[in-house]
Amino acid sequence: MQPERSPLSKVFDVPFLSLDGTSVEMASIIFLFLVVIAISGVTRRRQLVRRFVQAGSFLVFFCVVYSCLGVFGMIRNGLYGMTLLGSAYSESFYWLALPVVIISVTLLHGTVFCGWICPTGTVQDLAGWLRKRFPRRKERLTRGKLIGLAGFVAGFLVLLIWLGSKKQLLIEDSSVQWAAMLILLCYLVLAGAIDDLPSRKLRLFSLAAIFFTAVSHLVVTSPVHFAFTARDDPASALTTMVILVSALFILRPWCRYLCPWGYLMGFLHRFSRLRIQQAPGRCTECGVCNTTCDVAAVKNGVIRLDQCQFCYSCVDHCPNGGLRVVDMWTQQGEKSVVPAGKAEDPA
């Protein structure tokens, strides 16, 4: 008898907490709510707590639940769930629940999903942590290293073509094309052929492409999709690996250049209740926030809302308490954490 293959390391082979005995997963939604409530209550040792939340989310979504948190899948699932409204309620709930919860959370609490929960982000942070352990001396790579990197990119593309000729790859496996795109973009940014900030507008293009495929009933599986499903998805696994490798060179490259869900979150962030703002008169333009932000969403205390991932890193690292979380509904700011002796009198 063929040995049973469980999808990666799922602990349960049936829904852990199902809706009325159905396959509709409730554990993921409950977990999301709990995490967001926990995040909103954290004020001390926030970065440490964030790492724990990221690790916990990673474990829960990879090992316990089946609901997909893929950045392509949530767009497609949300649209598909809407088409089922009025005819198949439980199925509609199944597809819509996670995207709706995450969008609601973003409108209430900013883009905490990106900074604290998203498994694709966690994968990149893991590589980013390694990168920070071995900082580069120069921002630009040497010519020799660039040639080596070009060889790596070419090798990846050749491997992809070889894989496609040997194995059946369908349109669903097109996430490998996003992987190829990412690795090329990283190379071009490192080589100085294209710039970081303008290239971030590609996320809109990525969103449009995924939206187009979704309304055309084409399925493109997300980078981390292989962990959420019961079926083999080598293309998704390969794309996740590419994201991991790319993040060794540029921090959170997927979030910067290609994440369609990230673009959507960034757009909604403009209307969210909470946002990080500069505390009036406290910024000394010391540049600490510039270096602590993994996605370079802040420059001298000025936050780019469409890029911010609400990780609180800038708030926690600012030596002068120059950044604070503001409730846009009441216009009240959270008390900034100012290291003793470093606060300056705003007057």
């Binding site: 396959s23 996003w178 303008p198 590609l202 009933h217 084409l218 399925v219 019961a230 079926r231």
Partner: protein
Amino acid sequence: MRRAGSLRRPSLVILGAAVLAVVLWLVPRSVQACSLWSQSRCDAQNTAAIELDAPASGPPRAWSFDGSGRVWGYEPGMTVWSSPALASVEGRAVLAAGNYDHTLYALDAATGERLWTFTTGGPVYAAPVFFREGDRMLLLAASTDRLVYAIDAANGRQVWVHSVEDYRPTLGGARLAAPCVGGTGETDNAVFVAYWVWDRSLANSLQKSGVLALSLADGKPLWRQELGDNDLSAPIFARTAGRGQLFLGSANGNIYALDAATGAVQWKKTELDAVRSPPAFFVSASGPLVVTGSKYGTVRGLDAPSGAERWSYKTGDRITGSPAILVGQGPARAFVGSYDRFMHALDATSGTPIWRFAARGGLYSSPALVASGGESMALVLGWDHMLHATALGSGEPLFSAFTGRPLWNVAGMDDSNWSSPVAGRIRDHWMAFVGSYDGTLRALPLGEAERAAPVLRSNRWFWLSFPLVLLPFLALAIGLTGRERRRRQAIPTR
């Protein structure tokens, strides 16, 4: 000596009996193939395997028949090929299957030679069935044009036709399930068709479904039983205690048992989700049982006379195919494919799991249970686009053969009941027949199925989409950077 002999004889008898028991245990359980394809999956056990007497057919070989001449846009519920049906007609093994090109095809099952075609007014998604009426073999088929056709299987000529709903201009679509043939009484034969029709006009606001019984001889309606307003599965016919019963499922989750003589609803059981395929029926030691599978992934054994639940078993994901029952030596077994990628083998009397076979994709089809060269196997199709064969006794994988990719890449393709495999024994060779969603109807001799199957290759759309994604992204990135640099140069430095 005599005393010693008398002592030895009982021990020899015991030894012989023990050897016989061991041999019987070791011999694989044989499957009794059905004799006439009168139901959607051949018989009430859904075995979908038949032995054909076909001296006039050529030697069986692997063949394929392309039926994807024109590719329509995908709509939930549509299929390319219906599940095929097999029969021996005038000494030839004949395979009949409906196609989305509105046509019924009759092919020589041994060679793939086209015998005749019959065009209907709409796509034919429902499996046809065969039945002998007098001295001729009839092919009975239901089309989405609301018509039930009886066709002479020898030459493809129409014998009679009946519309389940009278035509009017505002009438929308119709979905007719596979017919089945049974007796309304002790001997009278009737065709039972489950239908779902709807009207587009607001004034009529018609959505109705039901089962219609037609006389096999002339297509005259015998009775009609309305069963709500949604899609129904094909009915199966079984005779219990001398009376005919029909069992069918519906998209609103109900399982019905009807009296075949009058159409009266004997019992109704409500499931948690849609029952998309016909149940299976068999007589267990404790009485007749109906085995159903639902989109909730639950398999249930129901008491056929009362509908009371005897057992249930939960698979990990939805079930869209029918269970198939192996009734032979030993306890009856139920085989059901699930979207959880497993084919589950259960004790059909108690629901106890026996083994499960893992495929690489969700299993959407009903299994076909075949006996080939003394070895019994189940054939099932999955979303890995493979036909999987497993040993019935142990669940050991025997072979997997690629059967083609779908014509569409659509998220909701699990809303369609795609064609299920069937098997036929022609001139001592077992063949599997698969109407694939790539548009091709394939015949694979079981001994060489893997060799005869097409080679797995990447989708051309996959390769085409490569430059479609990469080139615009790169051009855009370079363009955006160029624009930004020009903008920066234009700003005078302070």
